[in-house]
Assembly symmetry: C2
Homo-oligomer: 232 residues x 2
């Protein structure tokens, strides 16, 4: 199957480089989807919202490509230890980014259902800041993956608390708004889900951070004794 | 590493059997978590809700065990084609079941926040039927995985539409209830999320069904031409 150790190593490095490239490309598309979905929501821009939904297929296609490539790499190169963990992490991270793309798509889907302008709902003006926080977590955790940086991954996890606080504030603001404006409860309920989607994006970025940490160290985050597979 | 082809095959069969066993165990725990969370919600049983949250750690632990075992199997046995796809599927399915467990945990977390009894909210009496539908999808898709049954997996996907309809009905019922009972909007908003969690459990069962289909056939569901890796 191979013509020598060096050839194999080089081929593996190329493969892993390609995997990283695909993950980075997916991450970029997911960040853009979050930003565009929020812009569409703020502007009530149904056309942009439709574009976000259409572009989600590109994210799905790259995930399928990552899976095909990862399986081929494992089958052909039989990577061991650190290398294997990284291929497995790529496989799992791609699945999570696909889901982050779905959350952005879900936000975009709600755009045509929300007609109450930002001037009327305080939370609608806070949401973009929350989206930025979530999107930054996605970007930074994928940077951590690209650099195999366990510390940077751990740092992203810590930011999830701030996002949760954001979500809880927005929940209270929206419920108060519903109490005061019963006629738009249906619309505002959709905003609750938008906030929840952003909170879930943060959870998923945290999941990715845990995978990056494991791929880089062979240990589970917060599980200092689990050195079974050997640390770096 | 191995003492012969037969030895390797037998060891692989044992490994895959162990993986299937772990996945089945996880699935059972996830189904129980959904059922217990709904019972706790119906009865306002905070003790049972706490138990659901505590037991989620067991699901997480099995997921970590599946990952360790799958990586070891890939590294030691270098499975090919169908066998490799099955190991990869086990890895991904375990990650999804872990997430299904999280949704059950999220439902349980909301129990102490909801005091409005089932006699007052029509949707609260419909939710258990919706939960049953979601839980059955989880059980049946894991049975399909255990039997490598692509047709059964495809059938589970079709049921997701019924679950979505259920969700849309409940959404409307709850919004109407909020309009008529503005004092309990905060509580009822939590029920909206419970319904959404159940709908997401169905989405995840559908994701698993797609993975089972791919593992069994080497093709992506609904992608008849993608025979690149060869069908069975």
């Amino acid at each position: 199957m191979t013509t020598g150790q060096e050839h194999t190593v080089k081929a593996f490095d190329q493969d892993i480089g390609q995997l990283r490239g695909l993950i980075s490309q997916m991450g970029g598309l997911a960040e853009q989807a979050i930003a565009d979905a929020m812009t569409a929501l703020q502007r009530g821009d149904a056309v942009l919202a439709r574009q976000v939904r259409a572009k989600d297929k590109a994210i799905d296609a790259i995930e399928a490509e990552v899976e095909r490539l990862a399986v081929r790499v494992i089958a052909l190169r039989a990577p061991m230890a650190d290398d294997l963990r990284e291929v497995v992490a790529a496989l799992k991270i791609a699945a999570v980014i696909e889901r982050i793309g779905d959350y952005a798509k879900n936000i975009a889907k709600r755009v045509p259902l929300i007609h109450t302008g930002p001037d009327r709902i305080e939370a609608l003006s806070i949401l973009p800041a929350m989206a930025m926080l979530a999107s930054d977590m996605v970007r930074d955790v994928l940077d951590a993956f690209a650099r195999r940086d366990a510390d940077a991954a751990a740092e992203v996890c810590q930011r999830d608390n701030a996002l949760d606080d954001f979500y809880n504030s927005i929940f209270r603001v929206l419920v108060t708004f519903m109490v005061e404006n019963p006629k738009v409860i249906g619309e505002v309920a959709h905003l609750l889900f938008v906030a929840k989607n952003l909170e879930r994006i943060g959870d998923h970025a945290t999941n990715v951070a845990e995978m990056v940490f494991f791929a880089a160290t062979g240990r589970y985050m917060g599980d200092a004794d689990a050195g079974e597979t050997g640390g770096k």
